[in-house]
């Protein structure tokens, strides 16, 4: 396979955002990077099915999401989470970046149902339109809209509950951490 330079550039340009999406899906940088690598291999092996001039990022995101979905389903079957250890391993992954002020938000985000989280991220962070996000997720535009709305509502709910705890002793600890870690 000889890569058209413009195709290669388009793929590389999408990588940073693909990684961010992959991290949000898998909750783990290493697994996310493996997922991105697999996505690129898969994409280039099937580059003939990419229509020149069409939406490269959306095409790559679709591949990545499908890979993640099938990998996740497989793993869940293998482990069948007898003791919840796989779910636990997802939750206990170290944070990829250490901004203390985002830990609460990240925690709340991770508690969202995967469908809602992915819709919110595609629309709210990756910058896809509702239509593109629907295409990536293989569902109706209305489904994406309602997932995004529910995700926002749940986040607002969780964060306002947690921000009440900000008045507890933890607030002081966090203030010190935030001030001292830079």
């Amino acid at each position: 396979m000889t890569l058209d330079p413009s195709v290669r550039d388009a793929v590389l340009t999408a990588v940073p955002s693909l990684r961010a999406f992959a991290i949000s899906l898998s909750g783990n940088v290493d697994r996310a990077d493996d997922l991105v690598q697999e996505t690129l291999l898969r994409a280039l092996a099937n580059i003939d099915s990419f229509e020149p001039g069409s939406n490269m990022p959306a095409w790559l995101f679709t591949i990545l999401r499908n890979l993640f979905r099938s990998e996740y389903r497989k793993r869940r079957r293998e482990v069948e989470d007898a003791d919840g250890s796989y779910a636990q391993s997802l939750k206990s992954q170290p944070e990829q970046t250490g901004h203390v002020e985002f830990q609460e938000f990240r925690g709340a985000l991770n508690k969202l149902p995967p469908d809602q989280r992915e819709a919110l991220i595609l629309v709210g962070a990756s910058g896809f339109s509702y239509e593109e996000a629907a295409e990536i997720c293989g569902c109706a535009v209305g489904t994406i809209k309602s997932r995004v709305n529910r995700a926002r509502a749940r986040l607002a709910d969780m964060l306002s509950i947690e921000s009440m705890e900000d008045f507890g002793p933890d607030h002081a600890t966090r203030a010190i951490l935030a001030g001292g870690s830079r």
């Binding site: 990588v15 940073p16 961010a20 291999l41 985000l109 919110l120 709210g124």
Partner: protein, 62 residues
């Protein structure tokens, strides 16, 4: 919330969020996402594409 809701249009639809809440969620979401985006393209992916490209140039697999 430190600002009162701009309007009570929210009553039309239960669970409709105030604009300040939506903005706050959007900002935090983009901040953590952009943290990763700003790391750019890790070398392993640049090399991967280069490797795949060279493989292709040396001879197309049948």
């Amino acid at each position: 919330m430190d600002t009162p809701p701009a309007s009570t249009a929210s009553s039309r639809h239960q669970g409709r969020l105030g604009r300040d809440v939506q903005a706050k969620i959007g900002n935090q979401l983009r901040a953590i996402y952009d943290d990763v985006v700003n790391e750019g393209v890790p070398d392993r992916f640049v090399e991967l594409l280069k490797r795949l490209d060279e493989k292709g140039e040396r001879g197309n697999e049948p």
